[in-house]
C-alpha cells in the first residue's frame, strides 16, 4: 500500500516557470501507472517518494513504514527508504561491470548469500553471459533488465519505474512488459510506473492515475478512464475522444432520452439522440466526449437512420485502424478492413450511439 500526500512549490527559475506539485496518491494495486504529459510532475512524484526532493507539506507511507511526515518532522534518507528506482537512463554505473553493478546493490544481504543471489538474478534476467561487460557494451534491453535486477537485489519496499519503455523498439517493449509481469508475480512488491503512453497503462496498470500540471485529475482502471474521462483536460490528454459542444433541444424523461444540437467546429450543427440528462434545463449548453472508435462511420449510400452526413477531409492509417477526420473536425476510428473497400469515398454518414455519449463536467 502506498499513501503519498505531496505538496511542493517550485519557485520560477531561469528555465522554468513556477510550478506546484499537489498530489495525493493512494493505492493498494500491484501496479500504479502515473500517466500525464511531460512536465506534469510524474517524475517529481517518484522523486518525492524516493527521497530526492523534500515536499513542503505532506506524508508518505509505503506499506507499514512512514517514509516522510512534515508534521512529525520525519524524513528518511533515500538509503533508509529502500525504494527501488529504475531511472530513465538506467543509471548503471559505467565504470563497473554488470556483475559489479549488481554486487553494489547486494551489500545489504548477508555476506554468505550475496554470490548466490547475484547468480540467481543474472540467471533470472538472462544476463549470465554478459555479466562481465560494462554497461556501454550492453544492448538497450540488457541494460533495462540489469537496472531492474539491480534495483530488486537491494530488497526494495516498492519499485519505481520512470518511463521504462522510452526509447525501446516494439519488440523490446513486449519483452519488457512480459518481464515486468513476471517480476510482479515473483517479487510481490508494489510498483509505481511513470509513462505518457496510454497503451502502456493498459498493458501494465491495474490502477491508472492521470496527472496534469502537478495535480491528479482522475484515477481508476485504465478502461474506466478511457470510457469516461472526468473532464475535458483528461479527454485531451488521452487523445482518443471527440469533444463536442452542444445545446439541449429536447428532454424526454419518459423515454429517458434527450436531443442535442451539436456544433462541432464552425458547422451549422446537427441533431443527435442522447441519454436523458437529469438536472439540465432545456436550451442549456453542454460539452460531451465520445470516443473516436465509438463513432460509427459508414459510406453514405448505406446510411442508417438517425445518422449525420459528413464530408471526409483526411485519413490517417494505423496498423489496425483508419482514423477518419471529417471536415468539421470530428474524428472516427474504424477497422482498417472495413475502411479499405471505401477508401475513395468522400461522403460518410456518422452515427452517435447514445450510450457512448459522456457528458463533461464544465
Amino acid at each position: 500500500m502506498i499513501d503519498a500526500r505531496i505538496r511542493k512549490r517550485f519557485p520560477p527559475s531561469k528555465d522554468s516557470s513556477a510550478f506546484e506539485l499537489d498530489i495525493h496518491l493512494k493505492t493498494s494495486s500491484p501496479v500504479t501507472v502515473l500517466f500525464g504529459p511531460s512536465g506534469s510532475g510524474k517524475t517529481l512524484t517518484l522523486d518525492a517518494v524516493a527521497g530526492f526532493i523534500t515536499p513542503d507539506e505532506g506524508r508518505i507511507v509505503a506499506g507499514d513504514t512512514l517514509l516522510f511526515d512534515v508534521a512529525a518532522r520525519i524524513s528518511l534518507s533515500p538509503q533508509q527508504r529502500r525504494c527501488g528506482y529504475v531511472f530513465q537512463n538506467y543509471a548503471l554505473f559505467p565504470h563497473m561491470t554488470l556483475r559489479e553493478n549488481l554486487a553494489f546493490a547486494a551489500d545489504r544481504l548477508p555476506r554468505a548469500e550475496r554470490r548466490g543471489r547475484i547468480a540467481e538474478m543474472l540467471h533470472q534476467f538472462h544476463l549470465g553471459e554478459v555479466s562481465g561487460r560494462k554497461p556501454h557494451e550492453l544492448s538497450g534491453g540488457q541494460k533495462q533488465r540489469a537496472s531492474i535486477a539491480r534495483a530488486l537485489l537491494a530488497d526494495p519496499r516498492v519499485l519505481l519505474l520512470d518511463e521504462p519503455a522510452r526509447g525501446l523498439d516494439p519488440a523490446l517493449r513486449s519483452e519488457l512488459y512480459a518481464l515486468l509481469n513476471q517480476v510482479l508475480a515473483d517479487f510481490r512488491l508494489p510498483v509505481i510506473l511513470v509513462t505518457h503512453d496510454l497503451e502502456e497503462c493498459f498493458e501494465l496498470g491495474d490502477h491508472m492515475v492521470v496527472i496534469d500540471n502537478g495535480h491528479i485529475v482522475q484515477s481508476g482502471q485504465p478502461a474506466e478512464i478511457l470510457d469516461a474521462p472526468a473532464n475535458p483536460a483528461v479527454a485531451r490528454l488521452l487523445d482518443r475522444h471527440n469533444m463536442v459542444q452542444a445545446e439541449i433541444v429536447a428532454l424526454d424523461p419518459s423515454r429517458q432520452l434527450s436531443r442535442l444540437r451539436c456544433y462541432p467546429g464552425s458547422d451549422d450543427g446537427f441533431e443527435i439522440l442522447a441519454p436523458y440528462l437529469p438536472g439540465h434545463l432545456l436550451g442549456a449548453r453542454v460539452t460531451f466526449a465520445i470516443r473516436t472508435d465509438r463513432l460509427l462511420a459508414s459510406p453514405s449510400d448505406q446510411a442508417p437512420q438517425g445518422s449525420v452526413r459528413l464530408e471526409l477531409a483526411q485519413v490517417s492509417l494505423r496498423p489496425q485502424t483508419a482514423r477518419l477526420i471529417f471536415a468539421n473536425g470530428l474524428t472516427a476510428e474504424m477497422p482498417l478492413r472495413a475502411f479499405e473497400p471505401h477508401r475513395h469515398n468522400k461522403n460518410w454518414s456518422v452515427r452517435f450511439p447514445p450510450e457512448a455519449i459522456r457528458l463533461m463536467r464544465p
Binding site: 524516493a50 538509503q79 525504494c83 531511472f87 537512463n89 543509471a91 559505467p94 551489500d107 534495483a151
Partner: protein, 229 residues
C-alpha cells in the same frame, strides 16, 4: 658555473606537500560545494575563490597576521613543533597551499558536478552510504578531471612568489624557492642563473600541463576553473 639546484628541489618538495594537503582538503570542500546545498554556500564558494583574485602580498599579509609568532595560531604551532612557522620552508608550503588550493577546489567541484546525478541517486536508493557513494561512484566517475586539476594545482604551487616571500622570506638554502631564487638572481645581476632557472621551471610546467591535458582530455578555462567536456 656551478648551479645551486636547491631552490628547484625545495620548490618541488613544497609543491608536492602543498598539493597533497590541498587535495585532501579540496576534495572534501569541492564535494560539499558541488553536492551538498547548505546555507551560505555561495559565500563559502566566493571565499574559496578569493585567493585567486587578491594580490599575493595581501594574502601574505593575512597569513603573517594569522600565523606570525605573536598570533595564537603561530604560538600554538610553536608549542607543538618547538619552532616558529614563519620564515621556514613549512611556511612556503602554507603559502603554496593558499596559492593553489582555490584552483584545485573549483576545478574539482566542476569535475564532480559533471557526474550525472542519477548515478549518485541510484547508489543511494540501493542503500549505499554517502561515504560509499563518494568513493565508489562520484570519485571514480570524475577521477580524470580531478587528477588533471591536481596536476594543475601542483604546477601552480611551483610558481608562487608573493605569498612565499612574505611568509617564508628569502633565506638561501632554507626557504628560497625557485621563483624567489630567480628574482634574487636577476636582482644580483646573475643573468645566466636566472635564464637557466627560468627555462627549467618553464619546461617542468609545460610537461605538467601537457600531462594534465592528456589525462583529462578536458579543456580548462583558467579564468573560471570550469571543466568542459
Amino acid at each position: 658555473m656551478a648551479i645551486d639546484w636547491f631552490p628547484l628541489w625545495l620548490s618541488l618538495r613544497v609543491a608536492a606537500l602543498s598539493t597533497a594537503v590541498a587535495f585532501c582538503l579540496g576534495l572534501w570542500l569541492a564535494w560539499l560545494l558541488a553536492r551538498r546545498p547548505f546555507r551560505g554556500r555561495d559565500v563559502v564558494s566566493a571565499a574559496v575563490t578569493l585567493p585567486l583574485v587578491l594580490p599575493p602580498t595581501v594574502l601574505g599579509y593575512y597569513l603573517l597576521v594569522l600565523l606570525g609568532r605573536n598570533s595564537p595560531l603561530g604560538q600554538f604551532y610553536e608549542w607543538v613543533f618547538g619552532q616558529p612557522l614563519v620564515f621556514t620552508w613549512q611556511a612556503a608550503v602554507v603559502a603554496a597551499l593558499l596559492h593553489s588550493a582555490p584552483l584545485l577546489i573549483q576545478s574539482t567541484r566542476a569535475a564532480l558536478e559533471t557526474v550525472d546525478a542519477s548515478f549518485e541517486r541510484a547508489a543511494r536508493t540501493l542503500g549505499a552510504s554517502e561515504w560509499k557513494v563518494f568513493w565508489h561512484v562520484s570519485l571514480p566517475l570524475a577521477w580524470k578531471p580531478i587528477l588533471a586539476a591536481t596536476a594543475l594545482a601542483f604546477a601552480r604551487s611551483l610558481g608562487d612568489f608573493g605569498i612565499t616571500i612574505m611568509l617564508a622570506g628569502n633565506i638561501p638554502g632554507r626557504t628560497q624557492t625557485l621563483s624567489v631564487a630567480i628574482y634574487d638572481a636577476v636582482e644580483a645581476g646573475n643573468g645566466s642563473l636566472a635564464r637557466t632557472l627560468v627555462l627549467v621551471i618553464s619546461a617542468v610546467a609545460l610537461v605538467i600541463l601537457w600531462l594534465a591535458n592528456r589525462l583529462a582530455r578536458t579543456t580548462f578555462s583558467f579564468t573560471t576553473g570550469q571543466a568542459k567536456r
